[in-house]
Symmetry: C2
Subunit: 338 residues, 2 copies
DNA sequence: TTACATTATGACACCGGTGTCAGCACTTTA
DNA sequence: TAAAGTGCTGACACCGGTGTCATAATGTAA
């Protein structure tokens, strides 16, 4: 036998038509039990596998989802944000469970990204994963919607389509951090992240944090805030600049764990003790968080559930079923950094 | 326009035949420059994308590679070995650079894993990634070879086919660790990993370690060795059992960083100071390694180059080009744990 | 003017499945 | 016994491209 076996080969050996082979292999009730079995046996013997290209072409669907991972443009090429890697793991698993394959692609968030996996019939739907830059994305989202492309995104919201977003309840997460500080009498708070609406997730975290503090009559001083993107480097530099400007605080809320880890490095360098002088709380609960010194208190986003929800919601969209807006509850994981 | 545009739609608008459209879009020199341009313009206007299923079916190739990630069966479902995640990142990037898509699939190493992506024409070749269990894999490898499936693997070797393996020079890596200990006068060494030939990568690391020590007339005591798979938990328990048995040592070589991190936890719990009482060296240089306390000295495997080589070698196999056996040089990264 | 390249295009088979329709053999109902 | 129903199968169009071959139009050499 040269090349791979086709259904015609099986038909030949089984003495039936190719149509019958196709039906038999898909366990159609239209075929006689005995021929069904014979066909299956021969298929196994020939190590036959359905040609997905032919099958997909005919049925116009691919049993495949595509994952677009947007990276912070400034992040080191070789290092990928560990939070997204964890998401990738759970998405892969969720896809496998649903019988879908997963195409993975990295995209630079700043670049003119492409989502043509669905256009080219390689995937039935697309998952967008990244710390969304709200404003730049909207025109792209609109194009996708216009083309009736099925997609869901993590974090970033799509105008008028809350059902397309799966997201941690960042606002509540921010409140949890503030509650934690208040409970420990640390009310001289700093914030590192991006408090503009450019980065919607960070923004919500900050809002929740601020509002909860205000509810206890504590205001956050604007000078005690510094911008950072979600990298260790960026958190380090932002914290250093606060310290350099002689800004004092006894609690620090970082918009992500990587930022928090960078912040702790900067604090250590300045001989500021964590948690004695400054309590630090991060966000995400990435794997590293429990290994750093001191172990990082953080607001956990459950990546297992998040990945599952993304896949489930996307499949519902593909099947034209109704999808609910999905907001996942964050949980505070107390460790020694606070 | 209902549904997605096809080449026939373009043909209609351009007033040419579908054949010409197909040629024009692929920039065949057979079409007139002017019509080529007209076709391209219309395609853009209709947001036309080639149907990959149709194209792949006809050309019998998919421009896609599949990545099978084998996990240690005992590892926590939600946590994926960070070393493999780093590899996944670099493989994804390497694929993108070569114009290939990447299908990702997780497999349980113990289960009866499937590599039918190539059989079903979903991928042109397969990359196998995992801490290989040498013995169980060989029959599978044979099946893949018999079917003329193109594949490369990380770590595990394939009988008589060194060209199918991309691998860190684990033996030299083990020697580096031993050299490091000898240079720091720490010759009472323990080893945690799997020194049997069940786990070929760990085995080579141990061999190099042992041989280098022997070259300095230092023998490693069999009692100072404990088995572990590559998880933090496993490293923790293995180290605890050494301590519980009152085994003494002033240097510890762990077969992977995760094991080393678990080992450090166990040592700390037993009030054994790292690095003062015991110097620890790991293997892999995963992202976490530089953040743990103390920062971990480790033997780095360059995942960026490794991923590139896997993809490059696989593409060469697909193109039926000659492939060289690929052994990547490890580098010792000295940090505070030693 | 005839013979022969060259250029640009269209017609058509083909990739390997899936789904529809027709038809045959056989059973059930009136 | 004719009509209607059921179970199983084969023929065939079709999905949307790609590659081959034939052909028409034009240019070039003999």
């Amino acid at each position: 036998m040269k090349g791979k076996a086709t259904s015609f080969d099986i038909a030949h050996y089984a003495g039936v038509s190719q149509s019958t082979v196709s039906r038999a292999l898909r366990n159609s009730h239209l075929v006689n039990e005995e021929t069904r079995k014979r066909v299956h046996d021969i298929a196994k013997k020939l190590n036959y596998k359905v040609d997905k290209n032919a099958s997909n072409l005919r049925t116009q669907q691919s049993s495949t989802l595509a994952l677009l991972l947007f990276e912070d443009p400034t992040s080191d090429e070789s290092q990928i944000n560990p939070f997204f890697l964890a998401m990738l793991g759970s998405i892969t698993r969720a896809c496998a469970k649903e019988g879908y394959d997963l195409l993975v692609s990295f995209q630079s968030a700043s670049a003119n990204w492409q989502a043509d996996y669905e256009d080219s019939h390689r995937a039935d739907g697309i998952i967008l994963l990244g710390y969304g830059d709200y404003i730049d994305y909207q025109p792209k989202f609109k194009t996708l919607l216009d083309q009736n492309t099925k997609f869901v995104c993590w974090g970033a919201t799509v105008d008028n389509r809350p059902d397309l977003t799966v997201c941690c309840d960042n606002y509540s997460g921010g409140k949890l951090a503030a509650e934690h500080f208040i409970a420990h009498n640390r009310t001289d708070c700093a914030f590192i992240g991006d408090a503009s609406d450019h980065s919607p997730e960070f923004f919500s975290r900050f809002q929740g944090f601020k509002d909860e503090l205000l509810a206890s009559n504590v205001a956050i001083n604007e000078r005690k805030m510094a911008n950072a993107i979600s990298t260790e480097e960026s958190g380090y530099h932002a914290t250093r600049s606060l310290i350099a400007n002689n800004i004092k605080f006894n609690a620090l809320f970082a918009a992500s764990d990587l930022i928090a880890i960078g912040a702790i490095r900067a604090l250590k360098e300045a001989n500021i003790n964590v948690p004695k002088d400054v309590a630090v709380v991060g966000f995400d609960n990435i794997a590293i968080a429990s290994y750093v010194n001191p172990p990082l208190t953080t607001i956990e986003q459950n990546t297992t559930i998040a990945g599952q929800m993304l896949v489930e919601n996307l499949l519902k969209l593909i099947r034209e079923e109704k999808v609910q807006s999905t907001l996942l509850p964050p949980v505070l994981i107390a460790r020694k950094s606070s």
